[in-house]
Each structure stands twice: as structure tokens, then as C-alpha cells.
């Protein structure tokens, strides 16, 4: 029983890692705390759901159109709303702008899909494996694997490809990057788009195992913030550590105080980490960001 719960926590941690990576990239590199991240995840879930129900696209594959659409949406949001705001105002005004985007997104989704809960269920949804006397749904394992695969792909993109390295350069030393001809603003924009695409994939993967609705967007944002803080910013492996930690904390929490206190628990862990290790469990110092 304990093993099953811990195992589920770990698997959930994979999904959390993916969620956290997108948010962490936007925060650490583009310098934006994206309050519409939760909404974007849910939008990604809805888009996958539509592709699944309307065009019978397989559940995991249906993440791809969601990712593409959210990537383009992210770029548009950055270019037309965020960039002018950053130029003009202080940091928190940008924060409020992302919140305004969230409001518009939520309204949009409510109009189309209402607040009903949806879930993608396919023939595979109920396949499971019996492992060490515990019931392991195959979908969860698959999602775990896909999550890490995507995170790994993002890592490869960032460290091995030219645009990826240009993005990193823009974050580490914007003036230096401009000096050697990198269009730093475009890099931030692309990076933001990538973050949104990752949100879409995470949302769409999650829709396979959990019912989702617009109502959940706020809670998702809360979780993703905890993951980013635990792991440090702009740091993909940090997001992994943060994601898995949160998954385990929630699992153990549900055993001890009950699942309703998940949010409170995550918050407590986050504050403890902030006080003791402000860098996050392995990431950079916040003061420097």
C-alpha cells in the first residue's frame, strides 16, 4: 500500500517535472512569472481533447497539435502584450499583464467548454501491470516516460542546438549576446513560446489520467510555482528534482494528513526551502536572478 502510493507519487513527479520545466524556463530565462501558465496547461488539455474526440488522434500524440498551437499563442502574447509592458513598467506590472491574459484565457475556455470536467479515456486507459503486488496503470508509466523524454529533448535543444544556445546566452549575458549579433528579444520570445508549448504538453498528458476543467487552472499555477522554487530557476534538472520532490511530498502527505492539504503542504515545503536554501535544492541563487 505504501509502495503503491510512493510509486504513484514518483510517477506523478515526472509530470510535475515537465510542468515545472516550462514555467521555470519562462521565469529563469525570459524573466517572466507567467500567471497564465495554469490556464495554458488547461487549454493544452482541451485542445488535445478536441483532437482526440473530433479527429480520433491518439491520446499521447494529441499533445503535439496542442503544443504547436500554444507555442504560437505564446509567441503572440509575448510579442504584443508582454514585450511592450516590460519596456514600460516595473516587474509586477508584467506580472499583472500575465494575470490579465489568464483572465481572458479562462473566459474564452468557459465560453467554449463551460466548466465541466473532461477527461480523455481511451482503450489503453485501463491497462495496468501488476508489479510487486501493486496495481500500476500503464498510462501513468507512459506519461512518466514521455514527460522525461520531452524534458530531455528540451535539454538537448537548449544545450546542443544553435537557437538553444542563443537563448541561454541571452539569459546569461544579454548585452554580450547582443554584441555578437543575437537578437535577444527574439530569443526571449521563442523561449516564452517554448514554455507555453511545454505547458500544453503537460496539460494534455495529464488529461489522460485526471479529469480537467478551467476551474483547476489556479491550483496548477500554485503547484508549478512550488516546483520551480524547489528546483531553482531556469534549471531543467532542478525542475526534475522539484517535480519529483513535490510528487513524493504529496504522496506522503495524502497518507498522513489527507489529500485536501496538498496545497498547504507544498507551500510549507516551499517556504522551508526558501528559508534554508534560497537557491532551491540545487539551482542558482534567487538574489542573482
Amino acid at each position: 500500500m505504501l509502495f503503491e502510493i510512493v510509486l504513484n507519487g514518483l510517477l506523478l513527479g515526472g509530470l510535475y517535472t515537465l510542468m515545472g520545466t516550462g514555467f521555470s524556463l519562462q521565469w529563469g530565462i525570459s524573466g517572466i512569472i507567467n500567471l497564465s501558465y495554469g490556464g495554458m496547461m488547461v487549454l493544452g488539455a482541451y485542445i488535445s481533447y478536441q483532437f482526440f474526440t473530433l479527429f480520433s488522434v491518439q491520446p499521447i500524440i494529441s499533445a503535439i497539435p496542442a503544443a504547436i498551437i500554444l507555442f504560437l499563442l505564446g509567441i503572440a502574447v509575448y510579442r504584443f502584450l508582454l514585450r511592450p509592458t516590460i519596456k514600460k513598467g516595473s516587474f509586477f506590472v508584467t506580472l499583472i499583464m500575465t494575470f490579465a491574459v489568464e483572465l481572458v484565457l479562462e473566459n474564452f475556455m468557459l465560453l467554449i467548454w463551460a466548466s465541466d470536467y473532461r477527461v480523455i479515456s481511451s482503450p489503453y486507459s485501463n491497462l495496468a501491470v501488476e508489479l510487486f503486488n501493486t496495481h500500476l496503470p500503464l498510462v501513468k508509466a507512459l506519461i512518466f516516460a514521455v514527460s522525461f523524454l520531452v524534458v530531455y529533448l528540451v535539454h538537448l535543444f537548449m544545450s546542443k542546438t544553435k537557437p538553444g544556445k542563443a537563448i541561454q546566452a541571452s539569459a546569461l549575458n544579454p548585452d554580450g549576446a547582443r554584441f555578437i549579433g543575437i537578437n535577444v528579444e527574439r530569443m526571449y520570445m521563442i523561449n516564452f513560446g517554448i514554455g507555453c508549448a511545454i505547458a500544453a504538453v503537460a496539460g494534455s498528458l495529464a488529461s489522460n489520467i485526471n479529469a480537467f476543467s478551467v476551474v483547476l487552472a489556479g491550483g496548477l499555477l500554485g503547484k508549478v510555482f512550488v516546483i520551480a522554487v524547489l528546483g531553482g530557476l531556469g534549471n531543467i534538472w532542478g525542475a526534475a528534482l522539484g517535480g519529483i520532490t513535490l510528487g513524493l511530498v504529496e504522496a506522503l502527505g495524502s497518507l498522513t494528513v489527507g489529500p485536501a492539504y496538498n496545497e498547504a503542504l507544498g507551500l510549507v515545503v516551499m517556504v522551508v526551502v526558501l528559508v534554508l536554501r534560497p537557491r532551491g535544492l540545487i539551482g542558482r541563487r534567487f538574489w542573482d536572478v
Binding site: I96, A100, V104, N107, N262, A264, L267, M270, P278
Partner: protein
């Protein structure tokens, strides 16, 4: 210079007239409008609470509504056990101060971003606790306050004046702070925190102290709200939207100004009433769009834009006269 940067004697005349009108209104307008204005006053208090942090220290507590909820719930729990209102309200304040100190001391040391979003988490967490400590808080059922024995019109008026009094109190507190030594400390934190520290200012202390003041008035507003409504539940009083709309009001009216948050609250609530009654399904979206437009086109807020426009006209007038 008390009320604003560009004031003159007409500012005081204007404010005096406005106050007089507000005092007389409850006997002139219908109950619906009295209640609407009462809620405007309440939002003005919340906006002032937010502006103390946002306009002066530069730190924005997105989740400030948590104190509203704490005030409401603490007062409600105690009153439903027979306590009178004022002690209930005071305990609510103590709870809020406790949270400020415990949460604020570690998180205010960091930069503004983390504080802003962490307070959203704080609100969510406390809301979850309120929702689940069913024995104490009634869980999803909410809390019922002992009702007041009064006819509706008098009831409306009583709370109208209580909220208005609270609003005036918030303004007075703001004025006192700005001109005091404390005010210098927090204004310098917003201007340049590193420089402030180099002058001997313990910035974490001042940020926390400001938050405590902000939390206190927000908590009182919550206590009064609960008493007024006679019934509260977690989704009402821990609603993040309340906190965020307060921020939008401050932005609209102008952060760091004495009258700005109040003007913002008035405009915003009245606008919201119109939108809500006509465009319910687009309510959130319109709010979002308005925010976007304000940020892109009126970034310093309406009060500043308005007063600057007036003083420019006055200066131009003088120049032409010469």
C-alpha cells in the same frame, strides 16, 4: 502637500464636497445603491491595503485577500460562539499579524517576484485549511454570523457608515505614514533597496511592518464584511480575484498616491457593476482586456494622468497670460 503632488485648495474643496455628499446619500438613494457604495468603500479599503505595499515598498502581495478571509472567518467563528464583534475582530487582526510575521520574515527578504506569487500560495493554503477544518469552520458550509436586529434600511446605513469610516481611517493612516520617518524608510525601499540598506535601513523589518499594517486594515474589512453579509464561505472571502481586483484598482487610480486607490476602487466597482449586469458571460474576459489596456496605455494610473494634465494646462495658461 497632503493629498497629492499637484494639489491646491480646490483639491480640498473637492474632497470636502465629496465627503458631504457621501454622508447625505443614504437618505437619498435606494438600498441597492447604498449597498453598492458600501462595497465600493470596502474595496477602497482593500485597495489602500494593497497600495501600502505596492505603492510604497514596491512589493505586491497578490494574495493579500488571505487577511480578508482570516478576519472574516475568525470573527465569524468567535461570534457564532457568542463573542461580541469587537473582540472577534481584534483576534482576527492578531491572526493576520501572526501570519505576516511567520510568512513575511523569510519571504520578504527575497526579491519582489517571489513574494508576489508566494502570497497566492499562502492564500490557497489557508483557504484549504479553512475548507477542511470542518469542525471549526463548517468546511464548505461556511459560517453564519448572528444577525443584527434592525430593519433593512437602517442596516444598510449602519454598514455604509462603518465601511466609509474604515475608508477614511485608511486614508488617515496613509497620510500619517507618508510624512513620518517610517514613510521615508518604505519609500526608499521602493526607490532603491540597496541604497536604503546602505543608509542603515533594515529593509526586511520595514517591509514586514508595512505588511502588518496592510494586513490589519484588510482583516478589519473582512470582519466587517462577514458581519454585514451574515454568511461567509471560503470561496467568497479567500477569493484570489478580490486581491487581484484590488491591485487593478490601485493601478487604475495610481499607486503610491493617497487618493489613487480610492478613485480606482470607485471607477472599477461601478464599471464592474455595469459589465456584470450586461455582460455576465464575458465578465472575466472584459476585466482582463481592461487591465491590458490600462497597462499599455495609462501605466501610471488615472489620478496621476489627470492631475498632471490639469497642472500642465494651468502652467500653459500662466505662460500664455505672461
Amino acid at each position: 502637500m497632503i493629498l497629492s503632488e499637484n494639489e491646491n485648495k480646490w483639491t480640498y474643496v473637492g474632497v470636502g464636497i465629496a465627503l458631504l455628499v457621501l454622508i447625505l446619500l443614504p437618505w437619498i438613494i435606494s438600498g441597492y445603491w447604498v449597498r453598492l457604495l458600501t462595497s465600493v468603500f470596502m474595496f477602497a479599503v482593500l485597495a489602500k491595503g494593497i497600495d501600502l505595499m505596492m505603492g510604497y515598498t514596491g512589493y505586491v502581495p497578490f494574495g493579500n485577500v488571505v487577511f480578508f478571509g482570516l478576519g472574516a472567518y475568525t470573527t465569524g467563528i468567535l461570534m457564532s460562539r457568542g463573542w461580541p464583534f469587537i473582540p472577534g475582530m481584534l483576534i482576527g487582526i492578531l491572526m493576520s499579524i501572526f501570519v505576516c510575521i511567520v510568512f513575511g520574515t523569510p519571504v520578504l527578504r527575497l526579491r519582489g517576484h517571489y513574494f508576489a506569487v508566494a502570497t497566492i500560495g499562502l492564500n490557497g493554503a489557508i483557504m484549504a485549511i479553512a475548507l477542511n477544518a470542518t469542525a471549526l469552520t463548517g468546511g464548505a458550509m461556511g459560517i453564519i454570523f448572528p444577525p443584527l436586529d434592525m430593519d433593512p434600511a437602517s442596516l444598510n446605513r449602519v454598514f455604509y457608515f462603518i465601511m466609509m469610516g474604515l475608508m477614511v481611517l485608511a486614508v488617515v493612516i496613509n497620510i500619517i505614514i507618508v510624512r513620518s520617518r517610517f514613510g521615508f524608510a518604505i519609500r526608499s525601499i521602493k526607490s532603491n533597496e540597496e541604497a536604503a540598506r546602505s543608509l542603515g535601513i533594515n529593509t526586511t523589518f520595514y517591509k514586514t511592518a508595512t505588511w502588518i499594517i496592510s494586513a490589519t486594515i484588510t482583516s478589519v474589512a473582512g470582519s466587517v464584511y462577514g458581519w454585514w453579509m451574515s454568511y461567509i464561505s471560503t470561496v467568497d472571502v479567500f477569493n484570489v480575484m478580490i486581491g487581484v481586483t484590488s491591485i487593478l484598482m490601485v493601478l487604475l487610480g495610481g499607486a503610491g498616491t493617497i487618493l489613487g486607490p480610492i478613485v480606482g476602487a470607485f471607477l472599477f466597482q461601478l464599471l464592474s457593476e455595469v459589465v456584470w449586469s450586461q455582460f455576465l458571460t464575458f465578465h472575466l474576459g472584459i476585466l482582463g482586456v481592461i487591465t491590458i489596456l490600462v497597462i499599455l496605455f495609462v501605466p501610471r494610473g488615472l489620478v496621476v494622468a489627470f492631475t498632471e494634465m490639469i497642472s500642465t494646462r494651468l502652467k500653459r495658461g500662466k505662460k500664455e497670460a505672461v
